[in-house]
Symmetry: C2
Subunit: 141 residues, 2 copies
Amino acid sequence: MPSPDRISQTLTSHELRQTPVRRAVLQVLLDSSYALSGHEIEERIGADTDRITLYRTLKTFEDSGLIHRVVDTSDIVRYASCSIECSAHEHFDNHVHFKCTNCHHIYCLNQVAIPAVTLPAKFEAKTRDYLLAGVCRECTP
Amino acid sequence: MPSPDRISQTLTSHELRQTPVRRAVLQVLLDSSYALSGHEIEERIGADTDRITLYRTLKTFEDSGLIHRVVDTSDIVRYASCSIECSAHEHFDNHVHFKCTNCHHIYCLNQVAIPAVTLPAKFEAKTRDYLLAGVCRECTP
DNA sequence: TTATTTATGCAACAATATTGCATAATCAAG
DNA sequence: CTTGATTATGCAATATTGTTGCATAAATAA
């Protein structure tokens, strides 16, 4: 569990103001071992926070490089905290994501790098996302 | 452009009834070089078809292996037609997808296979999705 | 041509996400 | 520590995407 200091430091280093909502959202995402939807974050930070503020906070965090969206084939956006080195200008989250078909959690496999592919002519890639689906560690008998 | 025969044959071979909506939806998806959202399909097949019927048709097609969802980080589900060999039981669409940051189209790069990765212990993958983002062929100067 | 099965369309609804605006909170300067 | 400028918050209202139940219409098989 990250200390309150890390939360504050992360906000400061990304030039964001300290507010209770931001600290709570960041804490929740850092505490989770899998990506969370807006609704799931809402549940964890308590009902006294407005949903609109939450969505705006998520957008701010995403724009500043604190969190990233996780790829999926569903219609629900899920977020996970970025590695410490990410910024508004550059993301370093080139890790594979794993979606469990049993518990439906999406994990960041930080230790598994995304392998490169060779693209056809005139296609130029800047970011890459890799999503695996199957049964996760917790759900394997 | 696929002939009407191919549409009918595809429906028959997947044990689906021939209806105007199904033929129209399948035609639209086969004609498109990039993945389409429900709304985009709706626009292309004309306003006289109910949105609910469209969504049910898409679900039916997906379950039968005629079309597949395309991975993305957005909250909008996009569909593309599957290769001919796909069925309800097994998908053979292990190709890379490419999302253009300029025109926002998502292309199926059928000729680019998804490279394998080595997973941590007790993670078992069944399906894989790979999404690249950058500038596509049409938008490159 | 008829009977059975299944797709369609309507109405109503649920969930996710966004915009404008007034108020409240944060932070920096004195 | 207080003040002032800036920015985040919360409310109201709304947009978009997707779903469920049910009666009717259409498609296939006999």
